[in-house]
Amino acid sequence: MIEVHGLGKRYGDVAAVQDVSFRCEPGTVTGFLGPNGAGKSTTLRMVCGLTPPTTGTTAVCGVPYRRIANPGRHVGVLLDASAMHPGRSGRETLALTARVLGVDTARADELLGRVGLPAKAAGRRVRGYSLGMRQRLGIAQALVGDPGVLILDEPANGLDPEGIFWMRTLLREFADRGGTVLLSSHLLREVEAVADRIVVIAGGRIAAQGDARELLAGTDGTRVRAADPAALGAALAAEGITGAPDTTGAFTVAADAAAVGRAAAAHGVALLELRPAADGGLEALFLSLTARDTALETAS
């Protein structure tokens, strides 16, 4: 369980984070989404007691993070996979964490295998690791204490498609066992595949939050296409669904997919396509946030 309430951080005149509130429940994956520089990392550092907030409170497992006696045993934290000593081997990095947490170092070796770092790679110094390998090592480090909560900042950065799939599966299973996951990303696609809840932050403020399916669900109607557009048009009209075909013969109608499907079936029309007309408002919102962000970067 993670609770963030009215969190804010000012650096001089700049408000990096303002009035951010959200909750992460056990058994769920929360995607913390926002363009680069939106305040995601600052928020996560405040949750982990590394950055003192200007306003607001945070709690992990019911108490402020820094009051947890041995936080690594309750909360797995990966804030920056590149923040590892390059002169240490992966195995040594993990063994040190295991010693601090007071867990068996044998568990560290077992985890190396689980995150896909073979013994040979684990014995090499981190200097020679790719970002993807550092992410895997960072995940192992976060898991050493067998925590119930995971807080991960951009964990998919630098992972290849196979690695991203592995990460999603790992986080899904972790949440399905009752764990709480909070992961940040600047890519909607990365988050939508795994998150139950989504919190969107932009310019330091919450722009949207809620159930991922609801946020991502289509709100602009249903797109339907048949081999015979005329027959489909007649079938839709007969069921009281109005709409005109576009140049490809596809209809965009203000009805849900179930009603459209029933109408087509009732009139024996074979469908080629039946789906939400467009991605939901979140996509549009996120694109506009990212676009503005990119525009600002280009301008400056």
């Binding site: 006696a69 002169g87 480090q141």
Partner: protein, 260 residues
């Protein structure tokens, strides 16, 4: 409300926070498990060994005593152990391992205390190595018939030697904690004492007042027998200025700064 308060009590108490002994062991391991750390320590040991033939063949015969050989073997450590201390703190910032270190141990002062204890252990261990190297040096010198010097080392001198080795690492840690920047901390910890010594040697009027802060001069008597009250006072004052003050400021800074 007991169902709500019970888990809260649990996470603030169990599993318990790592003890100071465990953290000291971890910090000692962090000082010695990187390639740069090992090079530094190897250099310290090599310097001790290299100083032995220098003593046997170049020093005046009456100075080829065990005690002088111990002192010579300490030379590399006196120069490089402060660097080990500095890097122990500054690498947390330059390599950004502080993110992990202080996420795992939110009580930041505990980490710094563990580093101090680890530094003290390292300084002591290094003196033990020096004693071994010096014993070998004195034995070889005896076999070669190149010494009539004694085998004894007065307990006060031994204690002073261990103390100075520890002060070396601890002052490095203090500079590192205060400045959190390795190049700056290393430069200042080398340059400032030299500047002070040069000043006291060139400006006659400054010789007496600066004797209280010139760490090189103030600490030198500790490696001899019969330290006077005045010498103790000067040593204590210079340690307060060079170690205690920066350390206190470092503790203060660490507690308040943002870790990124």
């Amino acid at each position: 409300m007991s169902t709500l308060t019970a888990p809260r009590a649990a996470v603030t108490e169990a599993p318990p926070a790592p003890g100071l002994a465990r953290l000291t062991e971890v910090e000692l391991r962090k000082m010695t498990d990187t390639r740069s750390g090992r090079w530094l320590l190897a250099l310290v040991a090599v310097t001790a060994v290299v100083m032995m033939p220098v003593m046997i063949f170049a020093a005046p015969p009456e100075e080829r005593t065990f005690a002088n050989m111990v002192s010579a073997a300490q030379l590399g450590g006196a120069l490089l152990l402060p660097v080990v201390g500095i890097l122990s703190v500054t690498s947390e910032w330059s390599q950004r391992t502080a993110l992990t270190t202080f996420a795992l141990v939110p009580n930041r002062h505990r980490v710094l205390v563990a580093k101090l204890l680890a530094g003290a252990l390292l300084g002591t261990a290094f003196t033990v190595v020096s004693l071994g190297v010096a014993a070998l040096g004195r034995a070889v010198a005896g076999l070669l018939g190149r010494t009539g010097g004694g085998w004894t080392i007065p307990p006060q001198v031994l204690a002073g030697t261990v103390f100075l080795a520890i002060v070396g690492v601890v002052s490095g840690l203090a500079f590192g904690a205060l400045l959190t920047n390795a190049p700056l901390a290393i430069t200042l910890s080398f340059v400032l004492p030299v500047v002070l010594t040069t000043l006291t040697e060139t400006v006659r009027r400054l010789r007496e007042p600066l004797g209280w802060i010139d760490v090189t001069r103030a600490l030198a008597p500790l490696e001899t027998t019969g330290v006077t009250a005045g010498e103790w006072a000067r040593a204590a004052t210079s340690l307060a200025v060079w170690v205690a003050l920066p350390l206190a400021a470092g503790f203060y800074r660490l507690a308040r700064r943002e870790i990124t």
